[in-house]
């Protein structure tokens, strides 16, 4: 199915795909192309924003090129992204009781389900390197956000809401339900360190608080190899 194209202001063409995998594949192909009017390619779930240089092309011109890329891309499959194992200390969660109450599951079962699934990084956003991971096992879906967001969540906080789970890569205010914390450093903007990319896969490994302290501050690459 061809994507639906719409203008994101006069800056980008927004391409909506029927499924997330198609959007990720299209984004990867396009980012590797050498279109001289192309500024940035930003995927998120089933959508891709394609930023173009308004001085060298107009919306209609960019849209025609994207239709061609989408058409030729639909023929071949792209490689799946790498799988990262991310340690998570569920004892350091803040909202495990709230999640248990909403889902009717025991805290142990919640950990089993959350750490049992392999997630896809559908987007990086909110703050630098924050991975939007999906989708949660059906039993964990639909826990609403907190009514009042917390003013500060520690770096590494692992949260969930709706169908998504994610990791606060930097300390931030946030309204997701926090069920654990990873000791790993998953972003360092000053060093250009962004080990997770859209299309990669992630699985959480439960660890003890003792292991959390041992691993605290380590980079993903020093653990995930």
């Amino acid at each position: 199915m061809p994507p639906q194209l719409q203008p994101l202001g006069d800056q980008a063409v927004m391409a909506y795909f029927p499924a997330e995998a198609e959007a990720l594949s299209f984004a990867r192909t396009l980012a590797a192309s050498a279109e001289d009017w192309l500024l940035e390619v930003v995927p998120a779930y089933a959508s891709v924003a394609v930023f173009y240089d308004l001085a060298s092309i107009d919306y209609a011109g960019a849209a025609v090129r994207l239709e061609q890329v989408a058409w030729s891309n639909s023929a071949h499959k792209t490689q799946p992204g790498p799988l990262h194992i991310i340690p998570c200390c569920y004892e350091l969660g803040l909202d495990n009781a709230r999640v248990a109450q909403h889902t009717g599951l025991s805290p142990a079962r919640i950990i089993e389900l959350h750490a049992g699934a392999i997630y896809t990084v559908y987007a990086l956003g909110f703050c630098p390197g924050f991975p939007y991971l999906g989708y949660l096992p059906a039993e964990l879906v639909s826990v609403p956000r907190l009514d009042t967001p917390r003013l500060r969540l520690e770096k590494g906080s692992v949260g969930l809401t709706g169908r998504q789970t994610g990791i606060y890569t930097e300390a931030r205010p946030g309204g997701w339900n926090i069920i654990g914390r990873t000791p790993l450093t998953l972003v360092n903007v000053a060093d250009g360190y962004f080990p997770l990319r859209a299309g990669d896969h992630v699985r959480f490994r439960p660890i003890s608080e003792h292991d959390f302290r041992q691993l605290e501050g380590k980079r993903l690459e020093d653990y995930d190899s």
């Binding site: 719409q6 203008p7 994101l8 202001g9 006069d10 800056q11 980008a12 927004m14 984004a27 980012a31 500024l39 940035e40 390619v41 930003v42 995927p43 998120a44 779930y45 089933a46 959508s47 891709v48 924003a49 930023f51 308004l54 001085a55 107009d58 919306y59 209609a60 987007a123 990086l124 956003g125 909110f126 703050c127 630098p128 390197g129 924050f130 939007y132 903007v189 000053a190 250009g192 962004f194 990319r197 859209a198």
Partner: protein
């Protein structure tokens, strides 16, 4: 050579033209909120458009020169004193070692750029030297030594925008566009480089229960929160958002967004894609024109050629 920060001001930030190409990592575009003023300021001191400058917002800093530095302040008409003498926005001057430059406030507009000849020096992060944090008291801002004759820009009036041109947003059909366009909007104090929170009568959702998944957004997007209020995203705005967007400010007017201050009133007016592009090309051509004129006049001076950063 450097400028020493005596008082940091409200939010003084080292900026260039931004960190293009990293939004897929969740890193905002960033850079100068008013790229037009940054480019002109840089041209006045002989720099290329992307040289690193100090963005001043509402209340400026106090700085002490550790040596001879060629400067200009370009943008909103901030008051400014060098020791006991007034200096004017848009006119170049040379600071001598020990001189104290105090940038005050402005009666109109929000931001101006202190450009030094050769640009400030800072490490590049993801292709940009823009800092991630505002300057602090006591900090040293390294730059090149330099001097400059008095140069100034004529016929360049500064006015706060009263109208911003928009294209319909990706979720414009969630709302009544007429209701949106008829209102006057006021910038609230809860505004910053990430976004302007606007005050007006809350907008009505056609279907209040409707949800959307998060998707890429960009500066200029007008998001509507659950309570019907508008947030206009700025240069440091997040890269992905889950709020519906009723409209999108065109690129030609984004610098104007960077000059809106709390209390300012304005309206949105709707244009189409063709008009947006014409406006953008004209703005680029106008800026190019100014830069060329400045460069030509600069090349006439012995020993003063454009500086490459």
């Amino acid at each position: 050579m450097s400028l020493r920060v005596l008082e940091p001001g409200l939010c003084s930030l080292l900026v260039d033209q931004g960190r293009l190409g990293h939004r897929n990592l969740g890193v905002p575009l960033g850079g100068a909120a008013d790229r037009w003023s940054l480019t002109l300021g840089n041209a006045l001191v002989g720099n290329l458009p992307d040289a690193l400058a100090l963005e001043i917002s509402l209340a400026g800093p106090s700085l002490r020169a550790e040596g001879q530095v060629a400067c200009v302040l370009c943008g909103a008409p901030f008051s400014m004193m060098c020791n006991d003498r007034y200096r004017v926005v848009g006119t170049t001057f040379t600071l001598q070692a020990g001189d104290e430059l105090t940038i005050g406030g402005t009666t109109t507009g929000m931001r101006a750029y202190l450009c030094v000849r050769g640009g400030f020096t800072a490490p590049a992060i993801l292709g940009s030297r823009s800092s991630l944090e505002p300057i602090r008291a006591g900090a040293e801002l390294p730059c090149l030594a330099g001097r400059i004759h008095g140069r100034f820009l004529r016929d360049l009036p500064f006015a706060s925008p009263t109208v911003l041109r928009v294209l319909p947003g990706l979720q414009a059909d969630w709302f009544d566009m007429a209701e949106f366009l008829l209102q006057e909007y006021t910038v609230t104090p809860a505004s910053n480089r990430m976004g302007l929170r606007l005050d007006a009568t809350p907008l009505t959702f056609n279907d209040p229960g409707r949800e959307m998944s998060s998707e890429p957004v960009s500066p200029g997007a007008v998001q509507v929160t659950r309570d019907g209020r508008c947030i206009l995203l700025g240069v440091d705005g997040q890269t992905i958002g889950g709020y519906p967007k009723i409209a999108h400010v065109i690129q030609a007017d984004l610098d104007a967004v960077g000059q809106l201050r709390p209390g300012d009133h304005f309206r949105f007016v709707r244009v189409d894609l063709a008009e947006a592009r014409r406006a953008y090309l004209k703005r680029c051509a106008d800026l190019d024109d100014w830069v060329k004129r400045l460069r030509t006049s600069l090349e006439g001076w012995r020993g003063l050629s454009p500086v490459n950063m």
